[in-house]
Amino acid sequence: MRTQTASRTPIDAPQLMSIRGGIKRFGGLVAVDNVSFNVRQGEAVGLIGPNGAGKSTTFNLITGVDGLSAGEIFFKQENITKTPLHRRSAMGMARTFQIVRLFSGLTVLENVMLGFHPQLVDGFIPSLLRFRKVAADERRCAQRAMELLQFVGLAARADDLIAHLPHGQQRLVEIARALASEPGILLLDEPAAGLNDEETAGLGRMLRLLNDDGLTILIVEHDIGFIMGLCHRIVVLDHGAKIAEGNAASVQSDPKVIEAYLGTGGAHAKN
C-alpha cells in the first residue's frame, strides 16, 4: 500500500491539474455529473469506479478528446477548458488509451518518435528552410526514442511493425510514446487491461519508478490492487458522480464505495 511518507509528501505540492464542476451530457444521459478533483505535482492519483461510472469519459474531458458540457479544467494554473486537443499535448499532457492506439503503418521506433512532434519544427516551409535542424532533430529524436524503448525493455523490437507485437508490448510502446514528450502529467486509461500478472507487476514497478522520479500520474484502472499499490490518492466515481476521495485505506473502508462495487458485482476488488 502506498502511504505518503514524510520525506516526500506531495500534499503541499502545487496543483498541477484540476477539474472543477465537470459535467458531460450525451443527449439526455449525464455521463459525468459535477465531478471535481485535482492532481498535485508529483502525485499518483487513481480514478476508480464500477463499470459505466464515467471514468473514461472524465479522462476524455481532461485530455480534450471530448468537450465539457459545463465546468472547467485547469492545467499548470491555466484554464484549458477551451484549449483544443492537440495543444494540450504540447502543454505537457500525455495520455494512453483504453484500447491501444498505435500507428499501424509505422514501426515501434517511429511510433515513439511521434511523441516528440510538438517540439519539432512546425510546417512544411519552415522545415524546408531549416532542413539542417530537421535532420539533427531526427537523429536526436531517434536516440531519445531508443532510450525510452530501452527503459520499457523493447529496444530489440525497435524496427518491428506494431502488428507483430503482442498486446502487452504494444501497451509499453504506447507508454514510451507518451513519455517522449516529457510530459508534466501522464494520464493512463486502463493500462493494465489485457496484461497478465507478470506484465501487470512489471508495469506497476515502472510507473512507480517514474512517479518516484517526479512524474505526475493520473490513472484509470479496474484492477484495484494495482491502484492501491501505486497511488497516493484515489478518487471514486459511480454513475458519473464522485462518491469518495482519499488514500487507499480510507477509500477501501468507505461504505459508499463498498456499496457501489458490491451492487454491481464487486468481485473486482482484489485486495
Binding site: H86, F97, D137
Partner: protein, 340 residues
C-alpha cells in the same frame, strides 16, 4: 552514418535517387527518336503528379479523387497567363502554381473536414466541375479544343526537345528530393499518423486539420507543376487533362507502384506510361488487359512494385545474415540487418 528514421545506412537510402538521376540523365544519349524521349518525359511528368498524390493519399490517407483538376487548372493558368496576359514564362510558371495553391486552400478548408467516401466523392465533384467548365467555357478555355501553348524561349532561341527534357528531369528530381525530405522527417511521420489514427495523432500534439490542409495544398501544387510540364510537352492544354482517365492513371500508378512508398510513383509511372505502348498491339483488348492487370496488382501485390522490391531485398539480406551464426549478446544494442 545511420539514417535514423529508416534505420538503414544513408548510402542505401540515397542509392535509388542517384540511380534515377543517372538513368534519367543518360536517356537522351541512349534514345534516338523524339517519340521515345517524349515517352520518358511523360514518365517524369506522371511521376511528379503521382508523388503529389502519394503524399496526400499514400502517406496522409486522404483519398482525393479530384487531383486531375489541379493538373488542369495550373496548365490552363500557365497558358492563359501567357496568351491573355502576355506574361513571360518565368512569371507565368510560379504564378500558375500560386493560383493552384489558392484554389487548393479554398477547396481544401471545407472539404478536408470530410472523410473517406465523402471526401472521395466531394473531390470527384470538384474534378468534374473543373473538367465541365474547361469543356464549355469556350471563350476562355478554348472549349474541347483547348489552347495552344507557346514554346519556351530563352532569348530568341526556342528551347529544344532535349533541353526541355533536362528541365523536366530537374523538376522531377526536385520533387523527389522534396518528397523524400518530407517522408523521412517528422512531417512524414505526422502524415502517416493522421492516416492511421487521426484522433491519437491529435492527442500527441499533431494539428490534424492544419496538417491535412498543408499536405493537400502541397500535393495540389505538385500536381499543378506536373500539369504545366504536360502542357509544355504536348504544346497544348485541353480539357482531357482534367478528366477521368487521368484519375484512373493516378490510381493505377499508386496501386502498381505501391502506396506510401518513396519510389512507388516513379516505378508506377514507368509501368503506366510504357505498358500501353505494348498493349496497342492487342488492339481492342487493350482496355480489358489494362483492367485485368490493375486488378491482379491490387489482389496479389498490395504493396506494389516498391513493396515487392523491398521484400526481395529483405529476403536476400536475410539469407546473407543467416550465413553468420547469431551471437548471443542480449545486452548489446541490436543491429538490424540492412533495413527498410
Amino acid at each position: 552514418m545511420i539514417n535514423p528514421s529508416t534505420r538503414s545506412p544513408v548510402w542505401q537510402a540515397r542509392l535509388p535517387f542517384i540511380a534515377f538521376l543517372v538513368v534519367a540523365l543518360a536517356v537522351p544519349a541512349l534514345l534516338t527518336s523524339g517519340f521515345q524521349l517524349r515517352l520518358v518525359s511523360l514518365i517524369c511528368i506522371y511521376a511528379i503528379l503521382s508523388m503529389g498524390f502519394n503524399l496526400l493519399y499514400g502517406y496522409a490517407g486522404q483519398i482525393a479523387m479530384g487531383h486531375q483538376g489541379f493538373f488542369a487548372i495550373a496548365a490552363y493558368a500557365y497558358a492563359l497567363l501567357q496568351l491573355k496576359a502576355g506574361l513571360p514564362v518565368l512569371a507565368a510558371l510560379p504564378l500558375s502554381l500560386v493560383i493552384c495553391a489558392l484554389v487548393a486552400v479554398v477547396i481544401g478548408v471545407p472539404l478536408l473536414r470530410l472523410r473517406t467516401h465523402y471526401l472521395a466523392m466531394a473531390t470527384l465533384c470538384f474534378g468534374l466541375v473543373i473538367s465541365g467548365v474547361a469543356n464549355r467555357w469556350i471563350d476562355v478555355t478554348g472549349g474541347t479544343g483547348g489552347l495552344l501553348i507557346p514554346s519556351i524561349t530563352i532569348g530568341n532561341k526556342t528551347v529544344d526537345r532535349t533541353t526541355l527534357y533536362y528541365l523536366i528531369v530537374a523538376a522531377t528530381a526536385l520533387v523527389l528530393a522534396l518528397q523524400n525530405f518530407i517522408v523521412s522527417s517528422h512531417l512524414g511521420r505526422s502524415l502517416q499518423a493522421i492516416r492511421d489514427d487521426d484522433r491519437a495523432a491529435a492527442a500527441l500534439g499533431v494539428n490534424v486539420a492544419v496538417q491535412k490542409l498543408r499536405v493537400f495544398v502541397l500535393s495540389a501544387v505538385i500536381a499543378g507543376l506536373a500539369g504545366i510540364g504536360f502542357a509544355v510537352v504536348s504544346r497544348q492544354v485541353s480539357p482531357s487533362m482534367g478528366e477521368f482517365p487521368v484519375l484512373v492513371s493516378m490510381l493505377t500508378i499508386a496501386v502498381v507502384g505501391g502506396l506510401g512508398t518513396r519510389y512507388g510513383p516513379i516505378l508506377g509511372s514507368i509501368v503506366v506510361v510504357i505498358a500501353p505502348q505494348f498493349l496497342t498491339r492487342f488492339g481492342d483488348m487493350e482496355t480489358l488487359i489494362y483492367g485485368l492487370c490493375l486488378l491482379l496488382f491490387l489482389i496479389f501485390m498490395p504493396h506494389g512494385l516498391s513493396g515487392m522490391i523491398k521484400s526481395l531485398g529483405r529476403a536476400l539480406s536475410g539469407r546473407l545474415a543467416r550465413r553468420t551464426p547469431p551471437r548471443l549478446a542480449p545486452k548489446h544494442a541490436v543491429k538490424k540487418g540492412v533495413g527498410r
